[in-house]
Symmetry: C2
Subunit: 307 residues, 2 copies
């Protein structure tokens, strides 16, 4: 067991992120015991079949007992409820963290239920796929991705450092950030992109002049790219939008304003304006690839024969 | 040489689609001679280095001479200019087609320059990547993708059949469609998706509260998916939007209307409404995968270690 290890880690919620964590922790030997909690009996049974942990509990109170690190991997809308349930059973000195995509509202939901004897260090690994559930987890999901920690002021520095070490042991890079700033950054890099993906898939499905089977047949023209993130977990995303309302509405306002300008440029044949924007956006992709945040394979590496 | 072959095929414009065609035709032995035309000398030189054809001409008039099939692979905004240039040199009985993403305006641009002695059968392979230029071509780009033909009424049936056979020989499925309907279908499956991808990348780049390096670092939250198509060729896409103005503005209007409703649902905490939409959009992705129009690999098959 290395310095970055915990004796007992409890993962609460064994969906895509929870089960990726369980796999990643086991793979890297970061805990002596992995305890898995999920109030959904079928998820828990599936986790057991997949041998994702060492102990399994439907009751979160039994699960968190004696654990040194508790990671909440439930939808952000029920973080508070889960924290209220488990609070009396938390071990003194334990670190409590979460993986929620929203940080200000989660902090507000958790804080009233966190005893003074434990350390709350909220977090968010910026990683995922469009799949859900215990089977969807990937042991290398966090490698080269960023984990953002948003500890409130006066959080114990040792606890922060231990959680930093934990994410780094899973292959992540770690950044500390204010919760409010996190929510603004993620609104534009994650939440609004999901919203417009959901939206265009909805628009396309509802058309009368174009059949659904035409939408599907000709989706390789660009539409299919959006359907991937629009296939993400509905509960998780409902909670994200309601939990980060202010920043999402602000960024959505900017997006719509820009889209209106673009619409006007098309209507008035502003060829130069269109060309200028379309040239400018090209650069961002190459910077993302250079930063190791996407693969450089053409078309995301989709199969195109042997070329 | 099989029944579906042409003796001489001329490809005008050796970018992503032109060079994919050259590779696909050579690979499947569909022409005795491939003639490549490009008014850009450096593109043409690159095509020669890559051995994409048998003959190379900067002057399209020399290129199309004696060709049985001429495929225009230039941006839709200059189709008319190119057709005007080459018209006097077209072989009697030749088939002229194109690969433009817009069909009504291209038909209008081409028609005045098409002699009665040749057959015009406009087309559009719904396939591509975010890359441009002669190096970007892939010999299997058209496999399992749809090629849409939009021949005007009274087009010679034999010519249509020959072009159908041609695309099928490249691995494509073929559909015949009215040009106006094509433009409406592609507006929602391709043009508006590109527009909103360009738009959100633009919005994200222009923010003051969120730095560009933050946008790049946390792009794995969803944003990076949009940057791929926002890296597509600026000239091509400028011409598409200006060439399919009516349908794009119509579909964009629907998209914005739906987005406003979604914005309102977030503002008023309409949890059920959000959940309902996010559940409904999931189904489309699985139908696209079932139809063979996208890979079923998680996260488009992006690398996630060995899982």
């Amino acid at each position: 067991m290395s310095d970055t290890c915990f004796d007992r880690i409890c993962i609460v919620g064994i969906g895509l992120i929870g089960s990726s964590l369980a796999r990643a922790i086991a793979d890297r030997g970061i805990a002596n015991t992995i305890v898995i909690a999920d109030s959904d009996a079928s998820n828990l049974a599936r986790a057991k079949i997949l041998s994702l942990g060492d102990q399994y509990h439907e009751d979160v109170r039994l699960a968190v007992k004696d654990c040194d690190l508790v990671i909440l991997c439930v939808p952000v809308g029920i973080m508070g409820v889960v924290a209220a349930e488990m609070k009396s059973e938390l071990k003194e000195g334990a670190i409590i963290t979460d993986v929620g995509s929203v940080k200000e509202s989660v902090l507000k939901a958790l804080l009233p239920h966190i005893p003074d004897t434990v350390h709350l260090v909220p977090g968010h690994p910026v990683a995922g796929t469009e799949k859900s559930g215990p089977d969807a987890g990937l042991k290398d999901l966090f490698v080269d991705r960023w984990a953002i920690l948003t500890p409130p002021e006066a959080t114990d520095q040792t606890a922060i450092q231990k959680l930093k070490d934990f994410w780094q042991a899973l292959g992540s890079k770690v950044e500390l950030m204010d919760a409010k700033h996190h929510d603004l950054v993620l609104a534009i890099t994650s939440h609004v992109p999901h919203l417009i993906a959901y939206n265009i898939v909805g628009t396309a499905s509802d058309l009368e002049e174009v059949t659904k089977s035409e939408v599907i047949k000709y989706s390789a023209g660009g539409f299919r790219d959006f359907t991937r993130i629009a296939a993400s977990d509905p509960t998780m995303w409902r909670d994200v939008f309601l939990g980060n309302k202010e920043a999402v509405l602000e960024m959505l306002g900017r997006f719509s304003e820009d889209l209106t300008a673009l619409q006007r440029a098309i209507r008035w044949d502003d060829a130069d304006g269109l060309f200028e924007l379309f040239s400018r956006t090209r650069e961002i992709r190459s910077r993302i690839i250079d930063a190791g945040q996407d693969s450089d394979r053409v078309d995301f590496g989709r199969p195109h024969g042997e070329d």
